[in-house]
Amino acid sequence: MIKAILIFNNHGKPRLSKFYEHYSEDTEQQIIRETFHLVSKRDENVCNFLEGGILIGGSDNKLIYRHYATLYFVFCVDSSESELGILDLIQVFVETLDKCFENVCELDLIFHVDKVHYILGEMVMGGMVLETNMNEIITQVDSQNKMEKSEYPATAQGFIPTWLLFKAGQPDAQKVSVLLVLLEPLLVLYQQ
């Protein structure tokens, strides 16, 4: 079982946190801090496994992490998971993000954390690995996004979740289209 998945940057700012067991918000923050503390002080070339902190789990748990540029991806798992397997999974996760966001960088995660959650939801469910095939994950994520678009074609409603068009549109253009749509009822009123 995977107990938690955390992504934070080199300064310990959380970019995504997914706990598969319930903790209070305070404890969650404490766990993130503790994990960051444990992980950040390690050299680049040491191994990617770490005995779990005190807060999350116990002796059975391990932290398995990878460091990419400015971000740490940390999986907290128990002994039923294969260490190297999880390491591969992190790689799949990052590559999937890279495909979905086209050259993913920290900013993508900062602004589209919900999106990242949806991608993660296609890989890991309730702490168990759901899918490890990247193409399959991307197919599912894409068709869900398509569904959203069909529900919300950019001009047909008064509110656009901008991340739908992530990396695509410019915010200003969006605002204009939103404005037009919002004015529609006024026009109707005028015609009456």
């Binding site: 918000e25 496994f49 294969s82 168990m128 979740p161």
Partner: protein, 1251 residues
């Protein structure tokens, strides 16, 4: 109104979305908290809006804030609102938020049950998927219970995407609702062989997770997993399976033998490091489980160790350094597994492991530390510990240092200090460890000190001297105020000094040290020990002083006590206070006696006389309860309940004072005390259950006749004892080395002598390296082992954590299901949904039992049926093992017999216990040494023989057993046909008795307790059947899409052949069309996504789009399939007519009475009515049937009158007013579409005329 909307919309444009929020937070670095609080206020405003899009946006932002650590549970209700939006976009936002912040304590979760159920049955796979993902994070026991059945149905969904999610979430359901495990397990097992690899992987994942906690229950799955392991190519699945085998092998050594070969093949063939590593790991587990000592296996161990060594030391230049480090780490980890059983093979790699101790990576050092445990010997212990002590000094982080500390203690204390040759050295190591700042493990050091001092009599003198020094320098330990932990050492020091005070050189000085005012700053429990032991010391001091002629010294000592003790009497700690005041009074009394020049020392010492021996931590628990003793029985009459409050203080004493039970009597008059002690001794001598002084350790240390008689060896103290704060251990190390050298030299001399003698005999013997046995301990040490009661129970069950949720899942899965084990179902979907797809051979037809049947018969029938169900998934497997057929056939026959129920003679045939059948399957699989392929061939051979044999009827040269089975099979066929006929009859019969009471609880009709419970009902009705296949179907409307209905069809294989390539096709009408994948023409059929082994049934769903729903209609269709028997395969087809009733367009929709009243008042509804005569069933049954069969819900019920409501998929309201009086039921109905209404009424009429 319109203006308001416009105004609202424009306001909305200025709402922040998630990106704006994130940007805002980044721009307000200085006053982030303030900015966020204004944002939260805005969000609260947004949540008050009616517009769901605005709410969803607000919830989306809240999810982000939750990640930053803000509590957003106040918005739980809004999250539920967003979850129930019909738009996928918002639903997804809602479920994400829920998965992030809902938990078992969230009370609004109760409200979500129906919403989730609706989403689960949505025709849009992503609605279902999103609901499953969300549910996996916040499922509660209630949700698990209510939804278990829905999720189980989803496990056979047509879309693999849903199947795999449903399979995975079952694990969470099992955890929260363990009762669901057994009913759901057969289907879970089926999924192991799902055609989709993702679903297969999910099933493997779940079963592995289950089996990891309770492996023994899953042993029977080993053959199936073995097959998967040899056939699967998915590394992820392989890793899981191999890990599972690692957990199973310790339970079944024969399994291990079977595994070795395929595993080694995998090791050679795979390129994936992760897989290779897991293989090595499992091979290790296998080798461990096999009885060691077999020469070829020890060779395999060596091989594994060699491989691991390569992992550890080899750095692949092509890899990232961190990956190499990972390999190193894992290599060490696997080594530690071998270590437990084969320490010798690991010991030869000591160099490598010691080298890893110096690795810059803490994780690797920790793993190496683990290994050290097995590396030590008498010879190298001191050396290794010295190295570790160096690390302790260097270690910067407290975690690693604490780990080092525990490891040092572990290593030294393992198996009763087996490797320690010099305890003086060990004590000084412990003393050195006390200098560690801020360690958490003070208590560990303390207990070691106590343990050594108590158990090793020879060392007491030395220990006491060291402890006295510690006490003297207590300020060093407590210096930085309350540095938690390490002051625990003082607890041990004080106790040792007090208890063994006869060894003290200057007890007076120690006494003074213990009574210093600074002591009052120590934690209470340590002060208590101080006070108590000060009294012991006082006794010793008195004794030594009274022996001298000068009486003033003794009086001074008493005065010292009287001066210092009041400090403790004032202590806030009760324990300290009580002890101090007792002892103070005692000392005052003694002082009085002293003034009268009475010699008291003798009597004071007697207070503390006697030996304390160690008792094993679990000794008390292990004392068996003697026969006839009922611990729960009242000794006296139970007191009136008001007095029960003052039972508690006991715990306080027991906790704080585990070692000094003796002192409780200290204030009792001396003579009385002596008398009591005498009496107690007498009693103990007579009591067989008393833990006697002579320890059970006698067996181990044969030369110790009893603790009393251990010769205490005089220690030659060649080292100055009082060197405060200097590392002593090094000196000991050096001394030890010298000593050993000396011994060696002596030995060599002897050796030489011997050699000379031997050489004389013509044989050359090299003295070789020093071996273990050559090292003799520095002093002869007697170790007193812990005592256990004489007839202690050997079982050691107390390690299990009672709160472990997995304990509840320790369920025997091979046992047949019983009647009570059905999953709770939402009643109008009825138990059949669960039963039939589970592979039940006759699920549909036996929905309820005629009440005439005896209980026994019922039970038998259930058993047989359940057995069938559990077994069906294995059918493929069992097919290959025809040797077991007799049992199986017998079960089949039995089933038939109980069903047909007429043939009394056969029903006496014993039912084979299915457990043993399962076990014998496994046994067979395990014992067959031939390769699996060979077995298959053999089976294939028998298979081809079969039909001809059966035709011939009697073949005498066959094994009698097999012939018998064939006979039975033939019989079976006939009986089956017969059964079929009877079944049909019975079904009609049923309908009468089957007065469904279903929706009752939900609809509130079940108010009276005395209403009789009803057998389950089914909406599934027969579609078509022939000799091969039988189809039953149910049609459900789809709320999300007004033009769709879902037809669930259960296909059941009635033949003994394999059915495959099933294709389902319907002739579309203008009004109703089967939904086909894009690009398909209206003439293409849909492939049924599964194959059917004999006797198995499975459910598939087809979506139809309909335009007009006011009329019932029929669609013609055909099912084509291939029947594959052992020697041939034929194309077959089955025609059918799908009947779309108007009822099937209705959807159960709850309605509140006020809304209902409004609806009726609106006047837009057209009305019609219906009268039913001669209805004898109770009113609530009648309502339940309408609810169940026609998808209505009860709005209100008053006596014999009820209002009911339902809605069509296109939004027509249908309202009924049902009244009953003397066998006449009148239904007044209203609906906005008259045609629809009349058709529905007609169908209701039919339902009741049938019964």
């Amino acid at each position: 109104m319109a203006l308001k909307i416009v105004k609202g919309s424009i306001d909305r444009m200025f709402d922040k979305n998630l990106q704006d929020l994130v940007r805002g937070i980044r721009n307000h670095k200085e006053d982030e908290a303030k900015y966020i609080s204004t944002c939260i206020d805005e969000i609260k405003q947004e949540l008050k809006q009616d517009n769901i899009a605005v709410k969803a946006n607000a919830v989306c932002k809240l999810t982000y804030l939750q990640m930053l650590g803000y509590d957003v549970s106040w918005a739980a209700f809004n999250i539920v609102e967003v979850m129930s939006s019909s738009k996928f976009t918002f639903k997804r936002i809602g479920y994400l938020a829920a998965s992030q912040c809902f938990h078992e304590g969230t009370d609004v979760i109760m409200l979500t049950t129906n919403q989730i159920r609706k989403d689960l049955s949505s025709p849009n796979q992503y609605d279902t998927g999103v609901a499953l993902t969300g549910l996996s994070c916040f499922v509660t026991p209630d949700l698990a219970r209510d939804l278990a059945n829905d999720i189980m149905t989803l496990m056979s969904h047509t879309k693999p995407y849903i199947r795999k999610k449903a399979v995975l979430i079952m694990y969470k359901v099992f955890l929260k609702y363990p009762e669901s495990l057994r009913p759901a397990f057969p289907r879970l097992k089926e999924k192991l062989e799902d055609p989709d690899p993702g679903v297969q992987s999910a099933a493997v994942n779940v079963i592995c997770e289950l089996a990891r906690r309770n492996p023994k229950n899953y042993l029977s799955l080993a053959p199936l997993f073995f097959k998967l392991m040899t056939s699967s190519t998915n590394n992820w699945v392989l890793i899981k399976i191999i890990k599972l085998f690692g957990a199973l092998t310790p339970l079944e050594p024969r399994l291990g033998k079977k595994l070795i070969e395929p595993l080694t093949n995998l090791i050679h063939s795979t390129s994936a490091m992760s897989l290779l590593y897991e293989c090595v790991n499992t091979v290790i587990a296998v080798l461990i489980s096999l009885s060691s000592g077999m020469p070829n296996h020890s060779a395999s161990i060596q091989l594994c160790v060699q491989k691991l060594r390569i992992l550890i030391e080899d750095s692949d230049q092509n890899c990232e350094p961190s990956v190499n480090a990972c390999m190193k780490y894992l290599g060490l980890l696997a080594m530690s597994k071998i270590l437990k059983t084969h320490p010798k093979s690991v010991q030869s790699h000591k160099d490598l492991i010691l080298q890893c101790l110096d690795d810059k990576d803490e994780s690797i050092r920790l793993r190496a530390l683990d290994l050290l445990y097995g590396m030590v010997s008498k010879k190298n212990l001191m050396e290794i510990v010295k190295k570790l002590m160096l690390h302790v000094d260097k270690a910067e982080g407290t975690t690693y240092r604490d780990e080092l500390l525990t490891k040092i203690i572990d290593i030294c204390s393992q198996s009763n200090y087996q490797y320690i040759t010099n305890f003086e050295w060990y004590i000084s190591i412990l003393v050195e460890l006390t200098r560690l700042e801020g360690t958490r493990h003070g208590h560990l050091i303390a207990s070691q000190m106590l343990d050594v001092a108590i158990r090793v009599k020879a060392i007491r003198g030395f220990a006491v001297a060291q402890m006295a020094t510690l006490l003297d320098n207590a300020h060093l330990l407590t210096g930085n105020t309350q540095r938690n932990g390490i002051c625990e050492v003082l607890y041990a020091a004080a106790w040792i000094c007090g208890e063994f005070s006869e060894h003290l050189e200057d007890p007076k000085q120690t006494l003074e040290a213990m009574l210093r005012p600074k002591v009052a700053t120590l934690p209470g429990h340590i002060q208590a020990v101080y006070v108590q032991n000060a009294a012991k010391l006082f006794a010793t001091v008195l004794r030594s002083q009274e022996s001298t002629p000068d009486t003033t010294a003794a009086q001074e000592t008493s005065q010292l006590m009287i001066d210092r003790l009041p400090l403790f009497v004032q202590s806030a700690n009760l324990e300290v206070q009580e002890r101090a005041s007792c002892i103070l009074q005692l000392v005052k009394y003694i002082q009085k006696l002293q003034q009268k020049e009475v010699e008291v020392a003798e009597e004071v010492t007697a207070l503390f006389a006697g030996e304390l021996n160690p008792v094993a931590p679990k000794a008390q628990k292990k004392v068996p309860i003697p026969d006839g003793l009922d611990l729960d029985a009242w000794i006296n009459e139970p007191p009136s309940e008001s007095e029960s409050e003052d039972e508690k203080p006991k715990a306080v004493f027991a906790k704080e004072e585990p070692k000094h039970t003796r002192s409780r009597h200290s204030e009792v008059d001396e003579k009385e005390l002596a008398r009591r002690r005498e009496a107690r001794k007498q009693e103990q001598a007579n009591n067989p259950f008393y833990i006697k002084a002579s320890p059970s350790s006698q067996k181990v240390y044969q030369d110790t006749p009893g603790v009393e008689h251990i010769p205490v060896v005089q220690i030659d103290l060649s080292v100055p004892l009082k060197v405060p704060g200097m590392p002593l251990s090094d000196q000991y190390l050096k001394m030890e080395e010298d000593r050993r050298q000396k011994e060696k030299d002596e030995k060599k001399k002897k050796e030489k002598k011997r050699k000379r003698e031997k050489r004389a005999r013509g044989r050359h013997v090299d003295s070789g390296p020093e071996s273990e046995e050559d090292i003799t301990p520095a002093h002869h040490v007697d170790i007193v082992t812990e005592e256990m009661p004489e007839n202690a129970l050997p079982s050691d069950e107390d390690e299990k954590d009672p709160n472990d949720p997995h304990k509840a899942l320790d369920i025997d899965l091979d046992k047949p299901l019983t009647d009570s084990e059905k999953l709770p179902t939402r009643t109008h979907r009825s138990a059949d949904v669960l039963k039939s797809p589970g592979g039940d051979g006759d699920g549909v037809s036996i929905t309820g039992e005629p009440k005439k049947k005896t209980r026994k018969e019922k039970k038998e029938k259930k058993k047989a049926k359940d057995k069938e169900r559990t077994r069906s998934a294995e059918d493929k497997k069992t097919k290959k093992k025809h040797k077991h057929d007799p049992e199986e056939e017998e079960a089949n026959i039995h089933e038939v017999v109980t069903l047909v129920k007429a043939d009394e003679t056969q029903s006496t045939e014993p039912l084979p216990p299915s457990v043993s059948a399962g076990a014998s399957d496994l046994d067979f699989w395990l014992t067959s040494d031939a390769a699996p392929s060979a077995i298959q061939e053999a089976v294939a051979a028998t298979n081809t023989e079969m039909p001809t044999d059966a035709d011939l009827g009697e073949v005498k040269d066959m094994e009698p057993e097999e012939t018998k089975s064939k006979h039975k099979k033939k019989k079976l066929k006939k009986e089956k046909e017969e059964m079929e006929k009877k079944k049909k009859k019975k079904r009609h019969h049923h309908h009468r008795s089957d007065r469904g009471e279903a929706e009752s609880v939900q609809n509130g009709t079940m108010e009276e307790d005395d209403e009789e419970p009803l057998p389950p009902m089914s909406n599934y009705c027969l579609l078509a059947e022939n000799a091969y296949v039988k189809m039953v179907y149910d049609i459900q409307g789809n709320l999300q899409d007004g033009s769709q209905v879902v037809v669930s069809i259960i296909f059941q294989n009635m033949s003994s052949s394999f059915l495959k390539s099933m294709e389902f096709n319907v002739l579309d009408s203008l009004n109703s069309k089967l939904q086909r994948p894009e690009g398909a023409t209206p003439h293409d059929g849909l492939t049924v996504p599964f194959q059917l082994p004999p006797g198995v049934s499975n459910e598939a769903r087809f979506v139809f789009s309909v335009q007009s729903i006011v009329m019932p209609q029929k669609l013609k269709g055909t099912l084509t399939f291939i029947v594959k028997s052992d020697d041939s395969s034929t194309h077959e087809k089955l025609d059918f007519k799908l009947h779309f009733t108007c009822t099937s367009y209705l959807i159960t929709t709850p309605c509140y009475s006020d809304a209902y009243a409004k609806l009726l008042e609106s006047g837009e509804l057209k009305s019609s009515s219906l009268k039913l005569e001669g209805v004898t069933m109770p009113f609530h049954h009648l309502l339940a049937r309408i609810c169940f069969h026609h998808h209505f819900s009860v709005v209100e019920r008053i006596d014999s009158c009820a209002s009911m409501y339902s809605r069509s998929i296109q939004g027509h309201h249908v309202c009924l007013l049902v009244k009953t009086a003397a066998e006449t039921v009148s239904i007044d109905a209203k609906c906005d579409e008259l045609m629809l209404l009349e058709n529905v009424l007609e169908e209701i009429k039919q339902t009741f005329s049938q019964s």
